[in-house]
Amino acid sequence: MVKRVFERPLSWIERMLFLDFIRGLSITIKHAFRKTITTHYPYEKLTPPKRFRGFFGHKVVDGKEPQPAFDEWVERFKIKVEPGKSRCVVCMLCKRACPVPQLFEIEGEKLPDGRRRVSVFNMNMMLCTFCGFCVDACPVDCLFQSDIHETASYTRRDAVLDLEVLERIGRDWQRRREEEPDRIWIDDHQRQRLWHENHLKLPEVKG
């Protein structure tokens, strides 16, 4: 239950022959001849795991919406569903779940046929904490976090994601990674740089 730890002083032989130094030196020299483990950043990049919480996106309507939740919400708010456009149903739950609700600017508009659709959806990434509560709150699997992590920009304008950008990120995501299995990470060459000494073999990605 309780484990005592204590100091073990050096013996005289160790002191005289510098055995403590020699032991340390032998380890560092061993490391010097092993493979390096770093990723050479702007030239090589790690693929973020699928769960990565980066910049946001809106998934677009493509027939793979979570049912029956999507139809129920569409009916409830009388949303006009257009393929290739955002799935957003303007329920504002993301804004409610957010610890910094000021970062959202969401508005819906009424179309001539009486149906509604989202017209403004701005997210100010400078205020965002990337906690993912809004994603949890989204009932129709529309808002999600992509693997975009290189987010530096020259102006604050670029840090505000509007509907167009969100949809673009969403389309891109659905094309690239939507189908990926929910794997801790994709075991690529760069990842192996660090992990090869652990002799880790994750099963191959199918498809």
Partner: protein, 349 residues
């Protein structure tokens, strides 16, 4: 008349060659250090500028040269700049008495591959070595910064203690050789078929530690101690002025003291020594170049060893360093000196 001109020309060439080698090599040793450190730490080190970062020192130099020259308010500008000169000049001057190889003949002129073979060469080395303390004390004082001041006081304390130690440590080889001329010390070792390392192991170990202390290498790098003093006495310097201090301390001084260590303890340009029997020249195929290569090889091995230590060990505390110097190393060197002085005349000559 003619001989004076020739002498002047030869000396000038020597100066240029030595300066070029020392400063150029000094700059490139930064790359060596970075690469060694990187690989010990499982990184590749600089890879972008040139093949495997070969042009990195040039890029670094360019960067340092183009930086703004900052000067602390209320500092003393004269002393601030004087410190730089005081740091650089003595450190490079040491190379005046380092023999790079045996005497050789060009166009009938006998040339010793060292700037000047004064008969008090070693005295000069350690006299110049103690000049370093001025540079550091001045740098710390003129910067008008508490961190710089503490750093320079620490370093001054170390240099003062270890100058004594290092001087006593080299007494052993000097007694064995019976001369202070660096060239002659090497000659004696070759004649006697013996590196003095074998007879003076204590002096050698103490010398190595003192060398680390004088050059501010781990485990004695307390004047830098980036965790507590940021970078110690160089904290108020900027640009190339900042670059110069580590260049001098960490590279040129390590190089010069390694060279002196090789001269004193490892038989200078001689090949591998089997005590009392002879030398084993594995580089015989290089012909007349082999002594030079041996010398460079030994110096670089020592340098690499210093790097290896640097990137393995933690650092001591200032009081522990000076305590070790005065209470352990100095008595050890005394004993070594006395024993050598008693035994050497009896059985040596």
């Amino acid at each position: 008349m003619e001989s004076v001109v020739v002498w002047l020309v030869v000396v000038l060439i020597k100066i240029l060659v030595i300066l070029g080698i020392v400063l150029g090599v000094g700059a490139y040793l930064t790359l060596v250090e970075r690469k060694v450190a990187a690989h010990i730490q499982r990184r590749p080190g600089p890879m972008v500028v040139g093949w495997h970062g070969l042009l990195q020192p040039l890029a670094d130099g360019l960067k340092l040269l183009t930086k703004e020259d900052l000067f602390p308010r209320y500092g003393n500008r004269f002393l601030y700049n004087l410190a730089l000169v005081m740091a650089l000049v003595p450190a490079t001057l040491v190379f005046a008495v380092v023999p790079f190889g045996p005497e050789f003949e060009v166009f009938g002129y006998k040339i010793k591959p060292m700037l000047t073979d004064v008969n008090i060469g070693l005295l000069l080395v350690f006299a110049l070595g103690s000049m370093a303390v001025f540079a550091i004390a001045l740098a710390g004082w003129a910067s008008n910064s508490k961190y710089a001041l503490i750093g320079s006081m620490r370093k001054a304390g170390i240099v003062v203690s270890y100058e004594v130690v290092i001087t006593f440590a080299v007494m052993g080889p000097i007694i064995l050789a019976g001369t202070l001329s660096t060239y002659d010390i090497v000659q004696r070792q070759i004649e006697q078929n013996l590196w003095y390392m074998w007879l003076q192991p204590i002096a050698f170990v103490v010398y190595m530690f003192a060398m680390l202390a004088e050059t501010g290498r781990v485990p004695f790098d307390i004047q830098e101690a980036e965790a507590e003093l940021v970078t110690g006495f160089t904290v108020e310097y900027g640009g190339m002025k900042f670059g110069l201090f580590p260049l001098v301390e960490w590279y040129i001084e390590v190089l010069s003291l390694s060279a002196i260590a090789v001269v004193l303890f490892m038989g200078g340009w001689s090949p591998i020594n089997i005590p009392f029997l002879g030398f084993l020249d594995l580089l015989f195929f290089l012909g007349p170049l082999s002594p030079f290569v041996w010398f460079i090889l030994k110096v670089s091995l020592l340098f690499l060893f210093v790097l290896w230590l640097h990137w393995t060990l933690p650092r001591y505390r200032i009081d522990q360093i000076t305590t070790t110097a005065w209470k352990v190393m100095l008595p050890l060197t005394f004993i070594n000196l006395v024993l050598t002085a008693i035994i050497a005349p009896l059985i040596w000559r």
